[in-house]
């Protein structure tokens, strides 16, 4: 642990609200005293650039959008000129899609919404720092021209560093997600996004291809999806936005299949749009189950201007929704047999669905038991939504 003069990580907070400095110092005092975080403060973009020019060791910029002299969006554009190794987290008003879109285009790494929830902010900072560590390791290993396997290890770490490891406590439902990365990284990710009105955004995705380029494509897909999710209401519009942005630079014809849904615990309605992803499974408390209907979508990144469809389903108390990637159902055993959808359904035939975490972990365990020693070429990702019993 570092001493007070040299914290492990330095964060520049840019906001014209003078009370924010006091609030941040108070809420983050444990980390400041422990030598983990050091904070610098600036009141606008111009001051921020001065701080960045003087101090080369800033890791994260946390910036508001609307500020005098130079706003946060202009600042975002300038940051790479001063220091390309910085990650920016933008503080935006909920639903401010126009600014969020611009921020996404200008390379924002993540978003938090106003009013700032400090628990959420801490999780976001931690995740960004974990990502930065992996990113720096990736750059170092590229410099050394290490073997392809190391590159894949680096890609796995980048992948792990962007996944949520804490899940929001919600009224009326539980959410959990976990992933088992294959040696041969496929590029899965999932995300759980807090939305207003107690709703939650749930995303599960699978990037075509492997290695560091796929990991980077996955990273931008995740950021774009989160930005769009807090900016617009309809899941179909979220996917259209992300698809168009991904298509702006994509010579390698990479694509990502995304299932994105918004669940409202108050109405138990899941509204979703499926962008070319394998359909999630809804398991009822009597052991029956069905797949969520496709919505006429297309994998994201394939072609610009695509219009996505949308559907909704009202869940029942005790229902379990299993969102997964095809690594689960296409896992093969030593006899080259696939695990398959029927085996997945079979795990829950006994009636009364388990809790979200128990279900997700049971699925990954069952797939790994089935696969045994057979080499797996795809990540296993499983996210679950369990509606509370009546």
């Amino acid at each position: 642990m570092g001493d007070r003069d040299s914290p492990d990580y330095k964060i520049l907070v840019v906001d014209d609200e003078p009370d924010l400095e006091r609030l941040v110092r108070q809420r983050m005092r444990r980390h400041i005293r422990g030598g983990k975080y050091g904070f610098e403060f600036a009141g606008n973009g111009v001051e921020a650039l001065q701080v960045l020019a003087e101090k080369q060791d800033i890791d994260i910029v946390l910036s508001d959008i609307n500020m005098p002299k130079m706003d946060g969006l202009t600042l975002l554009q300038q940051i790479p000129e001063v220091n390309a190794d910085i990650r920016s987290v933008i503080v935006s008003a909920y639903g401010d899609m126009e600014n969020i879109r611009t921020a996404m285009n200008r390379g924002a790494f993540d978003f938090v919404t106003k009013p700032i929830d400090f628990t959420d902010l801490e999780v976001t900072i931690e995740r960004t720092l974990r990502h930065l560590d992996e990113w720096r390791a990736a750059l170092a290993s590229r410099d050394k021209l290490v073997a392809i396997q190391n590159e894949l290890d680096v890609a796995t770490k980048i992948q792990q560093s962007i996944l949520p490891d804490t899940f929001p406590r919600l009224d009326g439902c539980e959410v959990y997600g976990c992933m088992h990365a294959a040696r041969n990284v496929g590029g899965d990710f999932f995300d759980v996004i807090n939305l207003d009105g107690g709703r939650v955004g749930l995303a599960v995705a699978d990037v075509s291809d492997k290695g560091v380029p796929a990991a980077l494509f996955m990273m931008s897909s995740r950021t774009l999806l989160k930005g769009a999710a807090i900016g617009v209401e309809e899941p179909s519009t979220v996917l259209r936005e992300v698809n168009d942005l991904l298509n702006e630079t994509n010579e390698a014809a990479m694509f990502v299949t995304v299932f994105y849904g918004v669940y409202d615990p108050a109405t138990r309605v899941l509204t979703y749009s499926n962008g070319g992803h394998n359909p999630p499974l809804v398991v009822h408390s009597d052991g029956t189950s069905e797949e969520l209907e496709l919505t006429g979508g297309l994998a994201l990144g394939a072609i610009p201007g695509f219009e996505y469809g949308q559907a909704n389903v009202r869940l029942n108390p005790g229902d379990l929704v299993v969102f997964f990637t095809d690594g689960v159902t296409e896992a093969i055993n030593m006899s080259s047999e696939e695990f398959g959808l029927e085996s997945l359904r079979g795990l829950f035939r006994d009636g009364r669905t388990p809790g979200a975490r128990e279900a997700a972990e049971a699925i990954l365990q069952a797939v790994q038991d089935f696969a045994g020693e057979a080499p797996q070429f795809d990540d296993l990702t499983c996210m679950t939504l369990r509606v509370a019993d009546e």
């Binding site: 041969n184 075509s208 291809d209 962008g275 070319g276 359909p279 297309l298 070429f377």
Partner: protein, 111 residues
């Protein structure tokens, strides 16, 4: 994975057999790119003997379709088995790449 190339009066027919996944998708891409010369009028991929295609394989199909699209050369797929058809339907690629039941149908449309 094995790809057989045939030329039907300027239409390149690529017959793909076996499994295409991330372990051989680069090879798959190289073979296709190598076979598609400037004189090719259209490309038909016959997937009748294709048992499995992963997303890495789909990316190659998309890349080829995009490259050909820029040159105004058409591409179509034909004779998909049920599991492969299902991969194209779920990913939505059946909405952006023409799929025919038989090679004859695909050739008739390409000619």
């Amino acid at each position: 994975m094995n790809v057989q190339m045939e030329n039907h009066e300027g239409v390149l027919v690529a017959r793909v057999e076996g499994r295409v996944d991330s372990s051989n998708s680069q090879d798959f891409e190289r073979q296709l790119q190598g076979a598609i010369g400037d004189e090719v009028k259209a490309v038909v991929m016959d997937l009748g003997q294709l048992a499995y295609i992963s997303s890495a394989g789909l990316r190659v199909v998309l890349l080829i379709a995009k490259t050909l699209g820029q040159r105004n050369v058409s591409i179509s797929l034909c004779a998909l088995s049920d599991p492969v058809q299902s991969v194209f339907e779920i990913s939505g690629f059946n909405r952006i790449i023409q799929i025919y039941d038989t090679q004859a149908d695909a050739l008739a449309a390409a000619g």
